[in-house]
């Protein structure tokens, strides 16, 4: 029982969160952030399987999230909404809460199949060359989806809110929060189970040395296919949840910038450490959101406090004549988020390249935790 204490605690926390959200004690914006944290946890943890555990450098994980988002959205609309594309809904909207797992599963399977786009070339290509292939795969997926007019092309695709509303209409619950929390749990469990299995040891072995792995009689191609497909499938899960949380998808949301966000979270947390990557996903998402407030606050402080103070100092030092004043019309805006975040990445790589935890888990850093937690 004690070994499951933290798991029980986390489940209880999730339940409390759902209850609080249900009682509408949470601001919608905060609720959205919590769901985005969950989605980023799945996205980063799935990327960590390839980049962290298997030691390959996948730079196009956003592409698989995109496939999952679109596949899930199409299924969702076909199942529960009347649409021009699919005609009448296949199922009554009342079935949405029960059949939504099928939407998730469908998205995961299609994204896993898309993973073959990278898995097959990985048989004979690795390192930097494979990284280029993953970037190309990301581009191919985005361009392909953007050029299919039937699913909205560059305008994006919407209609998933009908599914979410159908679920809420039947039973008034924060459904997407629940699915997101379940998704995180499922993702962590799948990765933990996989990595503690013989296959998982095979993944670690491929990371260390592919030749030696084959000399153990391990079919490295099979290990790679499995790792890439599980990783892209879980990336797809993040995508389908994202699509339903926002009710709208656009292929451009999953461009290389999205893939880079995934890389930042993996490297921030520590490659090959699932607890580290989950922590990083939380910190990273919160940081981006906090910057939304910090930048305007700093902008205000800069204009109202720092500039007048500087003027005072310069006047007192007689470096500026009494009539002259320093002034600027420059306004710091949100674009600075994408200066500050990459800058942090540079500093991280310079001063702590192993990220939060390196390839260790939280239970290695705090061994006492082992008595309280088992994620298997």
């Amino acid at each position: 029982m004690q070994r499951y204490a933290i798991n029980i605690l986390l489940c209880a926390a999730a339940l409390v969160l759902v209850v609080i959200a249900h009682a509408e004690m949470l601001d919608k914006y905060v609720l959205n952030i919590i769901m985005l944290i969950g989605i980023n946890c799945i996205f980063a943890a799935s990327l960590n399987l390839v980049n962290g555990y298997m030691g390959e450098f996948s730079c196009g994980h956003g592409g698989f999230m995109c496939v999952g988002a679109y596949a899930g959205s199409l299924l969702s609309v076909a199942f529960f909404a009347d649409s021009k594309l699919f005609g009448a809904a296949l199922f009554a909207p009342q079935l949405a809460p029960f059949l939504f797992p099928l939407v998730l599963l469908g998205a995961v399977l299609v994204a896993a199949l898309a993973g073959l786009l990278v898995a097959l070339p990985s048989f004979k290509t690795r390192d930097d060359y494979l990284a280029i292939i993953t970037i190309a795969a990301n581009y191919i997926i985005i361009s392909l989806i953007e050029n299919i007019d039937a699913i909205g092309g560059p305008r994006g695709f919407s209609g998933m809110k009908k599914t979410v509303n159908a679920m809420s209409d039947l039973v008034d619950l924060p459904w997407m929060l629940m699915w997101t929390l379940l998704g995180v749990l499922a993702c962590v469990m799948v990765i933990r189970r996989l990595m503690s299995s013989t296959y998982g040891k095979g993944v670690s072995a491929v990371c260390q040395n592919e030749v030696a792995t084959e000399m153990m009689g391990i079919n490295t191609n099979r290990v790679k296919i499995m790792a890439f497909m599980v990783s892209s499938g879980l990336g797809g899960l993040a995508g389908v949840l994202y699509a339903h949380v926002y009710g709208y998808v656009n292929a451009q949301s999953f461009s290389l910038l999205k893939s880079t966000e995934g890389l930042v979270m993996v490297y921030l947390g520590g490659m090959g450490s699932i607890s580290g990557v989950l922590m990083a996903a939380v910190v990273f998402t919160l940081l981006i959101e906090l910057l939304r407030f910090i930048i305007p606050w700093f902008n205000g402080t800069f204009h109202d406090t720092i500039i007048p103070w500087l003027n005072d100092v310069l006047h007192k030092l007689n470096l500026l004549s009494a009539d002259d004043r320093l002034h600027t019309d420059y306004q710091l805006d949100q674009i600075w988020t994408w200066v500050i975040i990459p800058l942090m990445l540079i500093l991280l790589m310079r001063f702590r390249s192993e990220g939060f935890l390196g390839n260790r888990e939280l239970t290695h850093v705090f061994p006492r935790l082992k008595h309280w937690v088992t994620l298997k």
Binding site: T198, G202, V211, E214, M216, I218
Partner: protein, 239 residues
């Protein structure tokens, strides 16, 4: 048992093996000796059907095991079905796994079988590994890592063991120990093909040997004969 006929192999357009032929009978220790770049390691890699770019592509000839060609087989099936495996040059142990996990991983091709007996046998052959069973293998010394590499290969239940430069970077005492263990394994029925720069040591334990030079076999014979051939002595055994 293992027969190589007119084997040609190339790295891209550069041919590394120009049609070599040799055979290995069951229960023998055969050594391939030669200078750097003679094609010894390439021969082992070609035998194991390893993939480029690390290993050459076979462009001609044949490799048969008990009369059946193994040219179309992928490396992992040569390990699991033919029961032949390679201890690569530089050991390549899985540093982030413990000694025990390294050994367990090697029994992958025999999932479900009880491997305790083999692990005990390996610990008996290399007692140092037993002492360090729960230790991460990248913390082992060079000699211990080589023991682990051989132990790990044995865990595949191989009947033919290929070793690429097993003495590399080892202290003389440990090197002799390693070859003594190989001799013991051979007495237990293991067929061994060993590629070695230290030709003197290799010929002392081997039954037969082949001398390679720039991708061709230039001499062959029993280890005894090769040890006493004046031209071999002059070129490879330090006179």
């Amino acid at each position: 048992m293992l027969r190589v006929t007119n084997l040609k192999a190339a790295y891209g357009k550069i041919e590394a093996l120009h049609g070599i032929s040799f055979y290995v009978e069951k229960g023998e220790i055969v050594t391939l000796i030669g200078a750097n770049g003679a094609g010894k390691s390439s021969t082992l890699k070609a035998l194991m059907r390893l993939r480029p770019p690390e290993s050459p592509v076979v462009t001609g000839g044949n490799i048969t095991f008990d009369g059946v060609s193994i040219l179309g087989m992928p490396a992992h099936r040569i390990v699991s079905d033919i029961r032949m495996t390679l201890v690569p040059e530089g050991r390549h142990i899985f540093g982030n796994l413990t000694v025990m996990e390294n050994l367990q991983l090697a029994s992958w091709s025999r999932k479900g079988e009880d491997t305790d007996k083999e692990i005990r046998h390996i610990f008996e052959l290399f007692p140092r590994l037993a002492e360090r069973a729960r230790q991460r293998s990248d913390t082992l010394s060079g000699g211990e890592q080589q023991m682990l590499a051989v132990g790990r290969a044995l865990m595949t239940k191989c009947s033919v063991l290929l070793l690429d430069e097993p003495s590399m970077g080892l202290a003389p005492l440990i090197m002799y120990d390693m070859f003594r263990t190989l001799k013991r394994l051979n007495a237990e029925g293991l067929t061994v093909i060993v590629v070695e720069q230290n030709a003197h040591l290799a010929l002392q334990v081997a039954d037969r040997g082949y001398v390679l030079d720039t991708g061709e076999i230039i001499a062959e014979g029993s280890a005894e004969e090769l040890l006493h051939k004046p031209e071999i002595k002059a070129a490879y055994l330090g006179g």
